[in-house]
């Protein structure tokens, strides 16, 4: 290309119609670098998932939370292999030993000589089982109820929301305690379902909100106009938008469920302490021996760590999956 152009006759108009009919026209010529990025025309197109992944990875706290949870929950899942002792192994010769490397009692022993580390690990497993199941079940229930309420609106919505409100105005812990006392009878799974019966309201509300707002959007109208049935619209079009908030909510539910189970067990209305170690139950028995600090510190610390990690993870997930929210650090 030379520098002096072929003279453009003054009468020549702007790009003749043919060039612009098609709307976007690429640059009239390329300069060697083909990349439009180099020409500054566009920032490289990134997919939705790319963005989510990048922001999530950049969120160091979320990574720490994730790693922490993997470690802790991993210990719980593989308790049989990780725990040095069985949690029910009584050893009356070794009562109330402080943590020591000797004998592998890293967390010490409790008042009947059971290895505390093992009991904590099995407690984590209990928490994990309860927490994840509650989150899972309540998410599904909440999703269904929220979707129906939000999509159909009107009377159905009203009824379902009254139901949700009813559950919400009940004093949660008290009702849970009552239910646990009367129905739970120490069974871990009954307890899980009792808990799930309360946790669905949060997700239902969020899902309903999404459905209500998206129901009016144009692409739903378009889908309806092309004959799509209700279920199809709900699944293909609206549902994907709820996944972000649901994931975030579910993550937080896990932590909330774990703490609630711990509280119930602490008060004596949770899982049966004789058969199933629970972090809350451990704390309860620790009260009898306030001088043996390890009995209180380790279970509680575990709960705190789980909650912290879940909070970090939840924040990171919210950041990544819900970009509309103006994010404030921590």
């Amino acid at each position: 290309m030379t520098d002096s152009p072929t003279p453009v006759p003054p009468a020549a108009q702007v790009a003749p119609p043919e060039q612009t009919i098609d709307g976007m026209v690429v640059a009239p010529a390329t300069f060697g670098e083909d990349s439009t990025v180099a020409a500054g025309l566009e920032v490289a197109v990134r997919s939705q998932w790319d963005y989510a992944r990048r922001r999530f990875l950049r969120h160091r706290l979320a990574m720490i939370g994730f790693v922490g949870l993997v470690i802790i929950f991993g210990a719980g899942i593989f308790a049989n292999w990780v725990a040095p002792y069985r949690p029910t192994d009584i050893d009356l010769n070794n009562i109330l030993h402080a943590p020591a490397v000797a004998g592998q009692h890293y967390f010490g022993t409790d008042d009947t000589g059971r290895d505390y580390l093992s009991r904590v690990i099995y407690g984590i497993r209990t928490s994990l089982e309860v927490g994840v199941t509650v989150a899972f079940v309540s998410s599904i229930v909440g999703l269904i109820i929220g979707a129906i309420a939000g999509y159909y609106g009107g009377l159905i919505d009203n009824l379902l929301m009254r139901l949700t409100d009813l559950v919400l105005t009940l004093p949660a812990l008290a009702v849970l305690l009552t239910a646990a006392a009367l129905l739970g009878q120490g069974s871990q799974w009954r307890l899980t379902f009792i808990l799930a019966g309360f946790f669905w309201t949060g997700i239902a509300r969020v899902v309903r909100g999404v459905f209500l707002s998206l129901r009016e959007k144009e692409y739903v109208e378009a889908a309806k106009a092309s004959g799509a049935g209700d279920a199809r619209i709900m699944f293909r079009h609206i549902l994907p938008n709820t996944l972000g908030p649901i994931v975030v909510n579910a993550t937080i539910s896990v932590a909330a469920a774990i703490i609630t189970e711990a509280a119930l067990s602490f008060l004596g209305f949770g899982v049966n302490p004789l058969t199933t170690p629970s972090l809350g139950g451990l704390l309860s028995s620790a009260q009898a021996n306030p001088q043996q600090w390890w009995l209180t510190i380790f279970p509680g610390l575990t709960i705190v760590l789980i909650t912290l990690c879940v909070n970090f993870l939840g924040d990171g997930l919210r950041d990544a999956l819900d970009p509309s929210q103006r994010r404030v650090r921590a």
Partner: protein, 321 residues
């Protein structure tokens, strides 16, 4: 506004009916009201039958509910099935104790939380901000009962080592001391701190987030463009707007806590409403349990209403008609 409040209250009544009825049915079927009495060998079968009849325990559930409701409303919350003592005096006494602890804790938490939230937002990314944000994260993650236990251990330890009672770790009073005595304060100090820490974490986080939201809004930019001094921008424009969501959260939180900080009261063996509930539950004292559930529901509904009213008062865009 008044019509709105009246309407809300009107709506709440059927809700209360429904929830108390459901609770009653639940409690009646799942539990055995005379269980404890029955298992006591000293009580003859005749007495049991009399008790059952007097309390309509053989009637269908719905009927029983109305009997209970009648007693509850007319006879000062009725009498306990277990002790045959009236329930109201216990409720009255324990609720006042809980109120004392909770109100002190919440006032502290609000004042400190709001202040810290404001300063964290103004000095974002500073050392102050990072410190307190991390602390509040920690406080948020810490389950109340663990904190309570730790404090308990700490002060038991101090007493055993140095024979000095700074704070008591259980009970409300030593005998003969009054409601506002130093002794009482020493007893409730630890529970107050326990409750305060978690609430403080909540409020400071909310306040900070709300402040940051408002500080970057257009109307704050307008105020600056008018030449208003920065401190006045903060106090007059930013804080006023930022407080709104925090106040709402505080009202709701307070409502929940007034239902008895169950776990905290259990740890410190305080004679509060929550502890009363746990004991009733442990003793299968069902009418007491019902009383607790109804009272707590009323409190929660009331505070929900308060939260909405306050919000409507502070934000002129919300007008209930």
């Amino acid at each position: 506004m008044l019509t709105y409040i009246a309407r809300r209250i009107l709506y709440s009544i059927p809700v209360l009916f429904l929830s108390s009825f459901l609770s009653f049915v639940f409690v009646s079927y799942a539990g055995n009201p005379l269980g404890n009495l029955r298992s006591n060998p000293r009580i003859p079968a005749n007495t049991l039958r009399l008790v059952a009849e007097r309390n309509h325990l053989n009637d269908p559930v719905v009927l029983r509910y109305f009997y209970w409701l009648k007693d509850f409303v007319t006879d000062k919350m009725g009498k306990s099935l277990l002790t045959f003592q009236p329930i109201w005096p216990d409720v009255h006494r324990t609720i006042l104790h809980t109120a004392q602890v909770v109100l002190i804790a919440e006032c502290l938490a609000i004042i400190l939380g709001v202040a810290v939230g404001i300063f964290s937002a103004i000095r974002q990314y500073s050392v102050f901000d990072y410190t307190f944000t991390s602390l509040s994260f920690l406080g948020y993650a810490m389950p109340t009962f663990w904190l309570g236990l730790l404090l308990q251990i700490l002060f038991v330890d101090i007493y055993l080592k140095w024979h000095v009672r700074i704070f008591y770790t259980s009970g409300l009073n030593n005998i003969g001391q009054g409601t506002w005595s130093l002794d009482r304060l020493q007893h409730i100090a630890l529970p107050v701190v326990t409750l305060c820490v978690v609430s403080f974490a909540l409020y400071s986080r909310y306040m900070r987030a709300s402040m940051l939201d408002v500080i970057n809004s257009d109307y704050v930019r307008t105020a600056r463009a008018k030449g208003v001094a920065e401190w006045r921008v903060v106090t007059r424009h930013v804080v006023r707007n930022a407080l709104i969501p925090v106040v709402t959260v505080a009202a709701l939180n307070l409502g929940g806590l007034l239902g008895g900080a169950i776990v905290t009261e259990t740890i410190f063996t305080l004679d509060g409403f929550g502890y009363y509930f746990i004991q009733s539950l442990q003793n299968s004292d069902f009418y007491a349990v019902m009383a607790y559930l109804v009272v707590t529901s009323v409190i929660i509904i009331l505070f929900n209403l308060i939260a909405d009213v306050v919000y409507g008062y502070l934000d002129p865009r919300i007008r209930y008609d």
